[in-house]
C-alpha cells in the first residue's frame, strides 16, 4: 500500500458505508476506561495477590502425586490379581486364583458419580481411588485366595487375566496425557482427540470413565463448545460437595444460557443449600439464581437473591451489576 490510509474515525469519508463505520468506531473509543480510584483499587489488589509461583509448584506436585497414586493402584491391582506374583502357577489349565465375580468388579468399575470438578487447575488430574480403592476391598489377600481357589467353580474367566492391569495402566496414561495437554499446554483439541481414543479403546464404562467424562467437559468448555458440554453434563450427577460444586455451577450456568431456567435454578439451589459456603461456586450460584428468577418473572425473589449476594459478596465479581439492577 503506497499511500497511508485515512482513519475512518476522522470525519469526512466519501463512501457512506465507511462514514457509518467511522461513526460507530468513533463512538466506541474509550478515552479513560478506569479512573484514578479504580486504578488504585487494582494496585491494592496486586499488593494483596498471593505469589503465583507457589501455585505452579502445587499444581506440579499434585499431578506428580496423582500419577504416582494411579501407578501405585495399577501395581497393587496387578499384584493382588496375582499376575505378577511369584506364587502364581504357570500351567494354563489351572483355575483362576480369584472368582470371576470379583474380577469383574475390578475390570468394570461403575462410574463414580462424584466426579472431579473441571475448573480447579490444581486438582489432581486422576482420581487414584477409582483405580486403587475398589481393587483392594474387592480382592481377598493373595494367600487366602489361593486357599479358597479349589472351592471356586472352575468357570472360564471372561477377561484375559494378563490384559487387565496393563489396560488400566494404558487407560491412566492416556487420560494423564489428555489432562497434561489440556492444563499445561491448553491444547483442548488435542485432549479431545485423546479422549476419543480413550472411549474407542476402553469404552464408557472403564475404571476411569468418570474422569474421562469430566475431562471432556473441561476441554469442550475451553473450546467454547457449550452445547456439547451441556449435553455431557446432563448425563452426570455432580454432587454439591467438594470438586463436584464447580461442575454443578457450570451446568447451572449452561442450563440458564439454554433457557432451561427451572433446571438451572435446581442446580443453583443445590449449591446454595449449604448456607455457610462462600466459595466461587456459591457466588456464581447466587447471582445466577437471581438472573434465572428474574427471567422466570419472579422479580421479588430475584431482588432477594441480589440483596443476599451483596451481603455475602460485597466486592464480588457481579457486585456492580447487582447494585445497578437493584437501583433501577
Amino acid at each position: 500500500m503506497k499511500t497511508r490510509p485515512e482513519r475512518w474515525t476522522t470525519p469526512g469519508a466519501a463512501r457512506a458505508d465507511e462514514a457509518r463505520a467511522g461513526l460507530l468506531l468513533r463512538r466506541a473509543v474509550v478515552r479513560q476506561p478506569l479512573d484514578a480510584r479504580a486504578l488504585d483499587d487494582v494496585r491494592e489488589r496486586l499488593r494483596e495477590a498471593p505469589r503465583p509461583a507457589s501455585r505452579r509448584l502445587v499444581l506440579r506436585f499434585g499431578v506428580a502425586l496423582a500419577l504416582f497414586l494411579a501407578g501405585g493402584g495399577v501395581v497393587a491391582s496387578a499384584t493382588l490379581l496375582g499376575h505378577w506374583s511369584p506364587f502364581s502357577r504357570p500351567a494354563a489349565p489351572q483355575p483362576a486364583p480369584v472368582s470371576p465375580t470379583a474380577h469383574h468388579r475390578v475390570a468394570v468399575v461403575p462410574p463414580v458419580p462424584a466426579a472431579p470438578a473441571v475448573t480447579p487447575p490444581a486438582a489432581p488430574p486422576i482420581a487414584a481411588p477409582t483405580v486403587a480403592a475398589p481393587a483392594a476391598p474387592a480382592r481377598p489377600p493373595r494367600a487366602r485366595a489361593v486357599e479358597t481357589a479349589p472351592e471356586e467353580p472352575a468357570a472360564p474367566v471372561v477377561n484375559p487375566p494378563a490384559a487387565a492391569p496393563s489396560a488400566i495402566a494404558e487407560e491412566a496414561a492416556l487420560l494423564a496425557a489428555a489432562l497434561r495437554g489440556l492444563r499445561e499446554s491448553g491444547d483442548a483439541a488435542g485432549a479431545l482427540a485423546l479422549l476419543d481414543e480413550h472411549d474407542r479403546r476402553f469404552g464408557v464404562t472403564g475404571p476411569l470413565a468418570a474422569e474421562a467424562r469430566t475431562t471432556r467437559v473441561e476441554a469442550l468448555l475451553r473450546l467454547s463448545r457449550f452445547t456439547q458440554a451441556l449435553v455431557l453434563l446432563d448425563t452426570l450427577d455432580p454432587r454439591p460437595t467438594g470438586r463436584g460444586r464447580a461442575l454443578l455451577a457450570t451446568r447451572g450456568e449452561l442450563r440458564a444460557d439454554a433457557r432451561r431456567c427451572p433446571e438451572a435454578v435446581a442446580d443453583f439451589d443445590a449449591l446454595l443449600a449449604d448456607a455457610s459456603a462462600s466459595d466461587d461456586t456459591a457466588e456464581r450460584a447466587l447471582y445466577g439464581r437471581a438472573a434465572c428468577r428474574s427471567r422466570l418473572g419472579d422479580a421479588e425473589a430475584a431482588r432477594a437473591d441480589l440483596d443476599a449476594y451483596l451481603a455475602r459478596f460485597p466486592a464480588g465479581r457481579y457486585a456492580a451489576r447487582a447494585r445497578t439492577a437493584l437501583e433501577r
Binding site: 500500500m1 465507511e18 463512538r27 457450570t250 418473572g297 439492577a325 437501583e327
Partner: protein
C-alpha cells in the same frame, strides 16, 4: 536491567532506571486499561484485565531483560490476557444478556438514559459484535489503528509485524468489517 533507548516513550523513561512492578504500574496502568478496553470491548472487565496483566508482569519481571520495549512487552501480555478474558466471558455472557434483557427491565421501572449515552453503548455493542466475527490478526490491527489511533509504525512495533503486513491486514480488516456490518444489518433488519 533495561536501558533507555531512543525509541522509548516518556512512560518507558519513568521505569527505565528501576523497572519495579510499582513503577511499571504507575507508568503504564492507564495505557494497559485503554488497550484492554479497546481490544476486549464492552464484555471484558477492564479492571480485572489490568489486574491480571500486572500479575503476569510481576511474575515475568525478573526475566525481563529489556530486549523488547516495555510497551511492546506489556502490549503482548495485555493481548494474551484479553484474549483469555474474552474466551472465559463467552461462558458468562448470558449473565449480561439476562441483565440487559430481564433484570434491568423486570426489577424496576425503566430509567431513561441520555440519548448520547444510549447511542454510544449501542454503537460499541455493534462494533464489537462485528469485530467478534473477524479473525484475531485483522481485528487487532483495526482496533489499534482506529480506536487506539496508533500509526502503522507503532502498530508494527507493538505487534512485532512488518509495516507492510500491518497495511495489508488493515486493508483486509476494513473490507471484513464493512461486509460483516452489512451482514449484521441484514440480520437485525437495518442499521442499529
Amino acid at each position: 536491567m533495561p536501558t533507555l533507548r531512543a525509541d522509548q516513550t516518556p512512560a518507558d523513561d519513568v521505569v527505565a532506571e528501576a523497572p519495579s512492578l510499582d513503577g511499571l504500574y504507575r507508568a503504564h496502568a492507564a495505557t494497559v486499561a485503554r488497550w484492554a478496553a479497546h481490544l476486549g470491548g464492552p464484555r471484558v472487565d477492564v479492571e480485572d484485565a489490568v489486574h491480571e496483566v500486572f500479575l503476569v508482569v510481576g511474575r515475568q519481571l525478573p526475566e525481563f531483560r529489556g530486549d523488547a520495549k516495555v510497551t511492546t512487552w506489556l502490549y503482548r501480555i495485555t493481548e494474551r490476557v484479553v484474549r483469555g478474558a474474552r474466551r472465559r466471558d463467552r461462558l458468562h455472557r448470558w449473565l449480561d444478556r439476562v441483565r440487559r434483557a430481564d433484570v434491568e427491565r423486570s426489577l424496576s421501572p425503566a430509567r431513561p438514559s441520555p440519548v448520547e449515552e444510549l447511542e454510544r453503548r449501542q454503537s460499541r455493542e455493534t462494533v464489537y459484535a462485528v469485530l467478534d466475527r473477524i479473525a484475531e490478526k485483522y481485528r487487532r490491527v483495526l482496533v489499534l489503528f482506529e480506536l487506539e489511533e496508533l500509526s502503522g509504525e507503532q502498530i508494527a512495533a507493538l505487534t512485532g509485524t512488518k509495516l507492510a503486513t500491518v497495511w495489508v491486514h488493515l486493508h483486509r480488516a476494513r473490507a471484513l468489517f464493512l461486509s460483516e456490518l452489512a451482514q449484521l444489518d441484514r440480520n437485525t433488519g437495518g442499521p442499529r
